[in-house]
Symmetry: C2
Subunit: 688 residues, 2 copies
């Protein structure tokens, strides 16, 4: 129970401790420990290195707490990972394009090059991740949300998983716009794995109580994931705020910003050093006109765009839920997805690639563009429409959209129609992949279509002349991207992400408006978000998702779901009973009652104290009672069986305790711990 | 205890309710009620109007919950208030400038015009606010923070206070850069007052349980205050997140964004309609070069600027704490500030104005500029230095800074030196005033000085040539403004505010870096922030501030501070005891114990049930026991006397309960309610 005070005051404690250690002569204790192991090879150099490391630790500790170095390292290393991934993906995509160009003239070979390259990559990604670590498939955000809600899922944080996810994701991304999958989600997952590892390291170095550090690192890592992926620190922090299911603790706020800033700065500096630009710039930098970015009446159009995106997102989410249910119920599918993951991925991607082949339907949907090029072309600030009329002015961005000679409107509409079901199909692929970026691009296409439409209508109608002529469809594309991705994920951070990705602040207010309206439509009727649907389908013990599936779950009284009562001791317990309790209990706090009959809760004892009691009894050879030797700690917060599951989870989260006792009128009924909560939620999820 | 479930599910409930009402034939119940009052004048029209209002409510209710209309109205009306205030202040400032210009040639008259105009305004603001509502002085943010932490302070939310603060603030702002005070803080306070009023209105209209609505409206209002003041929605929300002392509830997130977007949109649209610009633009729109906003090596300079701002902020905060202590301990001061507030304000402002008189020291500190002009000039993107050398190119912004002919560096340095103590002195003025904007401008001046210095050194040294020549001191000014104001207030939202005020996103990452470093320096050693210092000085029951004054306060055990036990009933209580309890208790839950001897807590009863019990006993004329008639509700969360004050406050906040019982091993020790927490915190504050 004291752990939150500790975490609140951890900075002071840390400082005091390091100062105390400073005062000790040369940390003699540590040194002596090191030197006293007689069986170590190279004892002398080992000790010298360790001594220097200890000194370094003291030096670092005087500037700030060790956890801040952890945050900085987390940000920097995630950014390096992100940069390396971008680099490899670009190389792989260039190789594909080079091969495709070399085969110019032979359509059949070009077809096989176009389809087999991504199919093989996805097949490999799928089999690889299935064989090495099956937990690495999917986006990972539903699992991260569950872990941030307090449930432990150690499989999802292993280093093997990190390695698998990293390699698998490179393959998925190298499949390009054929697979049409993204990077954000898995990157958030990757950074949480890195965060969990660094957090363990920090605890090891700091060697004083850091009970909540693990949790803290996860929250920070969620922010860093987004920040390092796009060099966008502020939207990273907002994402982290939104992922927390019910309450964002303010003590995470500064660490989040610090780590996200480190990540974003490193990511952008690496881009500069690799020769991508002269200075730190936005990833998809746009050059919208700054004098009059939009006219006041366009606000209404942006609001309409928001509602449109909201409606389309409802349709998309509905299809996604349908296919999720289909994959869980159809027998052929289940068999395929459990045994032949690689084959399934390869087949689906082959099918998708044959559709996007530039000589088939692909020519109408700009399939030659990579994901980045798609987004860049959609965010272009000129009107494609006017470029179209004077062919001499036709500039690069719209080329891909009108290569077949059909108007860009039709091309965009076809893109939207096709990609809707192709994206839904791609979501079933069992490989590490993100689903945010495709949705973002899709939204940009919706916005672009509306913007181009408005520009076209106004140019033919041409009443208000000058004003309409300068409408910028790129602004609509940006607003559409934020609104649609916000509606699909039920978040508002895409607003900031859109701003940070393009460095374009002039449209912030209309983008915010569109995203709010889209969200309002998407959230109405308590529909589950994209990630909620995955959580429900995977039966993850995530309370807010379960609430979407069945609103009555959070208000289930604790009394109904409490498991069998675990080990308890009575006040007058002797060594035999204590020995039994020590052997059979895994809890960190063992409740002590007045007597087994009355069940009146007195407090709890800690297992180490029980071992001490046993040793004491053995040494003195006496039959002592528990309360004569051990100090019975008073319980802090007591729950009643009438409290709901939601309340229990919240109090456990917020109080930072590991164990809460449930008592009715002073009588012990049971214990609430995180494993117990996990069991309860999993039981509830099964009942849906 | 159920209130949080209700608030979580409030949307559904609201919808269900409205649908139920829809199904009822024409809300006949309500109509009948209205028509059955025989003594009302104009019964018929009254009823018709009310019927239409009821229908309107139903119509509105089908779209979304009534509270969302409240949020929209809050945003819009705060923006209108803000716009009206800006308009009046501009008129008053123009009048002053006109008069000053008319008196050209007569220095003595000009001196009196320059000094007496602001002195009279401030004298009036001070006396007015003192006489109408003494709670309206100061910025109001410390009080808003306290209220958002759960403590009720009804005096600070009255409509009289709103009126007084609004008028007083106009006078203060009209005193211009002489008083050097701002608008943000009082505006946040104004919007919370408006929010509290609207929240009451919403509850009245909705007529169903809205237990947490009041609290929700306050959180939203804090975001709206900042958003409407500057048309900056995102920083408004981040400010609201930061003001919450320990946990930000995610259910406030969307309302905050929605209301802030409404406010910002209205504020900017009003500016457009009043002819301020062609479209919605940032308040202090800048035109920094977008191609290469800054070079990678400048990151180090921004980091240095952050540390510099942090150091200066420590100095400023130290002086501020000194003068706060002085005003609380010096007898002359205390007497002056309690009896002659108007005179004191007038005298101080007269003194400040005589210093800033353009023919005295004012010529060296650009005193002819208003606050807005000061900020605009500091954020200018040209190098004043280079403008200086070719006089023909000398453009407007630097004119005010070099009017006396001395170099701008000296002018800026003199400005910084003088404004430091002048600002500290101005903080003692007992009138409605904000302290954020002056700090923001001061930070901009620090940044500008560094930027100009770097530009000058590089132009004389001139090694790397081209790169150094294109350094933009405006970027440094922006970073300095965010870093210094962030350090003084211990917040990070100024980063976003700086971006939103200027619409300049290219510098976001270096600004964030500078602000983080400045914050790190300012927060080290657990120094209190600007608002913390005011809270401590005013002895507000705000726990995080008290922690800064004495870190041991939050970990005081409840047992030490628990007051006398309030009314309790025993299970077998008869009508006499119950009658006594009803008469003497003001609590919403009255605890029931097994017997007065054993003190074993059984649960609680509600006062209405006790009244029913009494009526029952009277009707039947029997001596019944309490537990025979009333249902004893089980308690939910139980605290122990070993819980700390911090834990009690957090659980009370987060659980949303109004009463928590404190029990030791099943025995009742006392009650924790918000008034009780207020008493405890005030006692602890007095002990410091």
């Amino acid at each position: 129970m004291n752990s939150w005070d500790e975490s609140l005051g951890s900075e002071t404690d840390g400082e005091n401790n390091s100062q105390e250690q400073d005062n000790r002569p040369e940390t003699s204790h540590n040194k002596n420990c090191l030197l006293s192991h007689p069986w170590k090879p190279c004892r002398r150099p080992h000790a010298i290195v360790k001594e220097w490391l200890l000194r370094l630790r003291l030096c670092l500790g005087t500037v700030c707490g060790m956890e801040w170095y952890g945050y900085a390292i987390l940000g920097i290393s995630t950014a390096i990972l992100s940069f390396l991934m971008d680099l490899s993906v670009t190389k792989l995509l260039t190789a594909h394009q080079w091969l495709y160009m070399k085969l110019e003239g032979n359509i059949l070979l070009q077809f096989f090059c176009w389809t087999l390259y991504p199919a093989c990559l996805c097949c490999f990604a799928s089999s690889f991740s299935h064989n090495i670590c099956p937990f690495s498939t999917g986006s990972g955000i539903p699992e991260v949300r569950t872990m941030m809600a307090g449930i432990e899922m150690p499989h999802y944080l292993s280093l093997t998983n990190m390695f698998t996810k990293f390699l698998g994701l490179i393959c998925t991304l190298a499949a390009g716009s054929t697979a049409f999958l993204g990077k954000v989600g898995p990157f958030v997952h990757l950074s949480t794995m890195l965060g969990a590892y660094l957090s363990k390291l920090c605890t090891l170095i700091q060697a004083n109580k850091m009970a909540k550090a693990d949790d803290e690192m996860l929250v920070v890592a969620a922010a860093v994931g987004v920040a390092s992926c796009f060099g966008a620190p502020i939207s990273g922090v907002l994402f982290s705020v939104e992922v927390m299911s019910s309450h964002f603790a303010l003590r995470h706020y500064c660490p989040c910003f610090f780590s996200a800033a480190c990540g974003a700065l490193t990511f952008r500096l690496l881009s500069v050093w690799s020769g991508d630009g002269e200075t730190l710039q936005a990833l998809f930098k746009t050059n919208f006109p700054t004098a009059v970015p939009f006219y006041p009446f366009e606000i209404l159009l942006f609001a309409f765009l928001g509602l449109l995106c909201g409606a389309v997102s409802c349709c998309y989410l509905f299809c996604h839920r349908l296919i999720l249910r289909f994959t869980k119920t159809n027998r052929v599918f289940i068999k395929m997805l459990t045994t032949e993951k690689g084959l399934y991925s390869g087949m689906v991607v082959f099918f998708l690639a044959s559709l996007t082949f530039p000589y088939s339907a692909g020519q109408y949907m700009a399939s030659k563009y990579t994901m980045k090029q798609l987004l860049t072309s959609l965010l272009d600030n000129g009107q494609w429409n006017s470029q179209f009329r004077n062919a001499s002015l036709q500039v690069e961005p719209s080329l891909g959209w009108s290569s077949s000679g059909i108007p860009v409107y039709l091309s965009l509409a076809f893109f939207l129609l096709m990609k809707m079901w192709m994206l839904v199909l791609a979501c079933t692929l069992p490989l590490p992949a993100g689903y945010f970026m495709p949705v973002f691009v899709y939204g940009a296409a919706i916005g672009r279509l509306l913007g181009e439409g408005v520009a076209y209508v106004s140019s033919t109608g041409g009443t208000s002349g000058q004003q309409w002529a300068s409408i910028n469809p790129g602004g609509y594309a940006l607003a559409g991207a934020a609104a649609f991705s916000g509606a699909v994920t039920h978040t508002l951070s895409p607003v900031l992400l859109a701003v940070e990705l393009t460095g374009q602040f002039s449209h912030a207010v209309p983008i915010l408006l569109a995203t709010l309206l889209a969200n309002a439509l998407a959230r109405s009727g308590h529909r589950p978000s994209f990630y909620d649907a995955i959580s429900i389908s995977k039966r993850l013990p995530h309370l807010p998702s379960l609430r979407k599936a069945n609103p009555r779950i959070p208000s289930t009284p604790l009394g109904q779901v409490l498991g069998v009562k675990s080990v308890q001791l009575q006040k007058a317990a002797g060594p035999v009973e204590v020995q039994h309790a020590v052997n059979s209990s895994t809890d960190t706090q063992i409740p002590v009652v007045e007597s087994h009959e009355s069940q009146v809760l007195l407090g709890f004892v800690l297992p180490p104290e029980l071992l001490m009691f046993l040793r004491h009894c053995k040494a003195e050879g006496l039959e002592k009672h528990l309360d004569e030797v051990c100090c019975i700690h008073p319980t802090s917060v007591l729950l009643s069986p009438h409290n709901t599951v939601q309340e229990a989870v919240s109090i456990l989260t917020l109080v930072g305790a590991q164990t809460l006792f449930v008592a009715d009128r002073g009588r012990l009924l049971g214990l609430i711990t995180w494993p117990e909560i996990k069991r309860i939620l999993e039981d509830l999820a099964d009942e849906i």
